[in-house]
Symmetry: C3
Subunit: 427 residues, 3 copies
């Protein structure tokens, strides 16, 4: 439960809000690199942190990110011609390079001084790990790009899906660091009506112990979150996930740990979130079957498009195609698709969930810690303290993990092998 003002401070991302200022101290994922495929390609509309922008790649292949509307008379630069080193507005032919500098001002006399006094607002952009990143903060505070594992792998070993969630980014993020909901929302029922999970290997433990003990360990980059469940008589099953500032997650998956997954909950604005779902294979290229399942998930049918509107068929308006018969006989939620299940819950809370109405329990310990960290960091920045995690990309070289540990190991941090498991070797 939060006070109303805390909920405002936590969730709002526009320019001038305290969380908006804080988020602007990080590199922000804005597009897949393939959406700007090459030199002089078509520009792309970008809306991020409540700002409207246009991204493009110049003739040398360099990335640029400019204000959406031409500084002259506010025509949309998205319609512009991308040609010979810059983006040219279709209204009067003004042409900008990737830094927002005017290259050509053809509707003014050649000797016009205006060329050097007007600039389009621009932001630094980089490509890394198949993703286009932008930095929307103060020029002298530019941090490093977070060195998340998937970004260091060759394209054959990574895959990214993304989609829009029509709600605030924090409630979307909260679902991902909430280990206890896995025993419910994402489970299926066997023919006898008992719950079974999507994750076949460890499903027995998750289904048997539905109230995991949550251990939250603060780190330089965010939080390590251990969910401890009874395994065998003398052992615990641990799922250790990571929350990395400000909106990255790494989810503890199967016991073999060869496949990685997590999410990035990037605010489009206060009430829309771009959910990025990177999937990666540290042990070598994905197989074709793995690639297909990364996209479709275990419930392929739900991802079909409506033939009339061209939109995803599952949405809040149609109750995410919830099937009550399915719910009685096969699926705890009656909704097909793990992401659809999470989205049904997150959007169902309203555009920005009213946290004054909550009642939190022990299982929400990680969520409490995350909110406290975000609010604390945003307020520290407001009071003049720079966020350290933003500056150091190497802090993000960590993993999630799952493990069976003896019951004598009360905290997962006591396990001697855990530091090796959770940290990536130097690249």
């Amino acid at each position: 439960m939060l006070k109303a003002q805390d909920n405002e401070d936590l969730t709002r991302v526009g320019p001038g809000t305290i969380m908006g200022d804080y988020l602007r101290r990080f590199w922000t994922p804005i597009l897949e690199a393939s959406e700007l495929p090459g030199p002089d390609c078509d520009p792309a509309e970008v809306r991020i942190l409540g700002e409207n922008l246009v991204a493009f790649r110049d003739s040398a292949g360099q990335l640029g990110l400019l204000q959406a509307l031409c500084p002259h008379r506010q025509a949309p630069l998205f319609y512009g011609r991308n040609e010979e080193g810059g983006l040219r507005c279709i209204y009067h032919g003004w042409k900008f390079d990737i830094t927002g500098r005017i290259l050509d001002l053809p509707n003014e006399p050649p000797d016009s001084p205006v060329k050097n006094t007007i600039r389009a607002k621009s932001y630094p952009v980089r490509e890394w790990g198949g993703v286009v990143w932008a930095y929307l903060g103060p020029a002298d505070k530019q941090p490093e790009i977070p060195q998340l594992e998937w970004g260091t792998l060759p394209p054959s070993g990574r895959q990214i899906i993304k989609y829009v969630q029509r709600c605030n980014w924090v409630q979307a993020l909260e679902g991902d660091i909430d280990s206890s909901h896995v025993s419910f929302l994402h489970t299926k029922l066997d023919p006898k009506g008992n719950r079974v999970g999507y994750n076949q290997q460890s499903v027995g433990y998750v289904m048997r112990d539905k109230h995991p003990k949550i251990e939250v360990v603060p780190t330089d980059y965010g939080l390590m979150i251990g969910a401890r469940r009874d395994a065998e008589e003398d052992s615990y099953y641990w799922r250790i996930s990571q929350w990395l500032l400000p909106y990255y997650t790494l989810i503890g998956g199967d016991l073999d740990g060869k496949l990685g997954f997590g999410e990035m909950y990037v605010p489009i604005d206060d009430t829309h979130t771009m959910v990025w779902c990177p999937r990666w294979s540290a042990g070598g290229p994905f197989t074709e079957e793995q690639r297909r399942r990364n996209i479709e998930g275990p419930d392929a049918a739900v991802r079909t498009l409506d033939p009339v509107t061209g939109e995803l068929r599952a949405s809040k308006a149609n109750h995410f195609l919830q099937d009550r018969l399915l719910q009685r006989n096969y699926s705890f939620s009656g909704i097909l698709g793990v992401r659809e299940q999470d989205t049904a819950v997150a959007e169902g809370m309203g555009a920005i969930v009213d946290r004054t109405q909550e009642h939190l329990v022990q299982g929400d310990a990680a969520i409490v810690a995350m909110r406290r960290t975000l609010l604390g960091n945003a307020r520290a920045l407001r009071d003049g303290e720079e966020p350290p995690a933003a500056a150091q990309g190497s802090l993000y070289r960590v993993r999630a993990w799952s493990a069976i540990l003896p019951r004598t190991t009360v905290s997962f941090t006591q396990d001697p092998k855990m530091p090796v498991r959770l940290a990536l070797a130097d690249a």
Copy 2:
């Protein structure tokens, strides 16, 4: 004509408004009983008086009405599993009984004290007359369910249609107690261009005398409204309708008086109204033909669904399919369907009609009296006076009537048989 503040006070229904508080002292129709068909059936979304709720029936068939979002982290309970005595949230498996008490809290340890300290907000619900009723007011002020005639009849003798009107409830209601518009909006033209009504028996009087004298008699339950028209040389034709607090109507119909009809204008929120149209036959079961006409009305074609959107074809956006040729030759309005005609007018006034712009006349006497009663009662409650009508269900055992009375009977209340006609015998 009302002052702007009076119009606000009259129309707003959310929690904390004076009319919202007043309406909450009555049982409110929320669903047809058939929408919650049996034990452990699918839950139903309810929006009423500006509040979002979820209704369900437990394994014993008992009705429950809970807050829409789980008190834990605000996941939508509508998606919940209805099973073994309660509704279980799909997010973390919290399970609530019909009173909002937690039956199971599986993501917490079994000894968690939280189970007894957290409750979902719930409202009392009852089934009566084929309708599910809820009480949203203070627990110690619970009134009786209004004993309207149709609710006391067997299902074979009653039928209910309902639909949503996209405007405030008061302007929707006003149309129903406005006898003089019947001579216009709902009439048809004969081949010579003269108006004829839907009601064949008394149509001659209604068409000849288009400015009825309105007699309004205040009662314990609301208003008796007599509309007096010239009949023969020595007689008047009286239509006596009822307005019952807060939004019920009984409409004086044919002279034989065997079929009853009326409406209930239940506020979904300030700008949407659920219009319930009960139809009943006090003299025995409806015939098949009567049942069909209750649904379709005299203009069946208009109630078809758009094959692409699945919505009713007639709407404000398409001018309720008004046909100008039809209007010139056959129908006063050019709009097919009595309810469509009323809806075209009510929605056409705007979401909440601006009553500061009105100019009322003698024919609006019932509307003036109704507004005064509603505002007076709401303000009385604000000042500490309980509404009596809400408490006594038996007050609602009245009827509407139509009658031919001698001209010597200046007021319908002078007719000696009228008390018998307008009051139902004790059940």
Copy 3:
């Protein structure tokens, strides 16, 4: 660039705004005369300057424009019956003549005094030049209808297309008096990638000299705007356009000057504009081919309707069907249709462009002068000074022109023939 308050004052048109008051001192085009085809025809919904109204023609063919909602209880008069001298409300049969006077009040007794005390608000309406005009200002300040050339021609020599632009009227208007954008937005590319204009005759000059020198001459009716481009070694190519108060334009076209065109940017409300496109031929009737091109423009395909929605296919939502391959090889904008190009830019600026973000240059001289004139006149009226242009219809008897003048003629006003070219002979 404008201050925020100036931008508000410039753009807002509702009752009580300073620009709204100013615009109400002019006759306003509201419908094509053909939309009210004859006596007792169907009424038409009108929304203009933020006011909802209903227009009709009575049995004598006289035009009327009334408040949209009946003064009685606010039923929509648009559904009304247009019959025997007036418009009759479908709710209670009240009937109004074109001045808003009540002709019949059938739901009141015949001796009711109300008939003479209640009126529907009405505005004067006239038909001229195939257009229905309304006057929404104070009764004692009624001006003359602007005697624009097309309005004085027989129907065989004029044609009008109109469509809705989803943005404020001023930014729509600004595109029309902006000669320099023609060298860009509306050009096509020849096979070698060089730009060519739609206007074949003078295209060479417009394409070669892309930064015209703008000469702005204030007049009694608005502005004469000369755009001077280098033609041959000893000559200039002049395009002389007109802006006439408050939202009319005449565009300098081909050198032969036989065909006239211009626009009228009539505010529906603050964020919607009815764009009227009159086209006329002063030298005689249009040919069939000219008529077809007036409607379709040079890119006919774009004006097709979506078979499912029935709306124009090109819109902001689909980026005006911009084709990037077309943009690279054939069209500067990649958008088909001159009006679609202008609309893409105007709507792309946002509902009301934020002029605090602009950076104006020499080429924007006419726009600066126009804004200054509009704001100055609106503020003068607020301070008690009547707008002269509104009163004198004959001031509007002017033309646009294109001409080749010797370089010795520095200003187009020095050319001795110009007064003849720009003024229409007395009618």
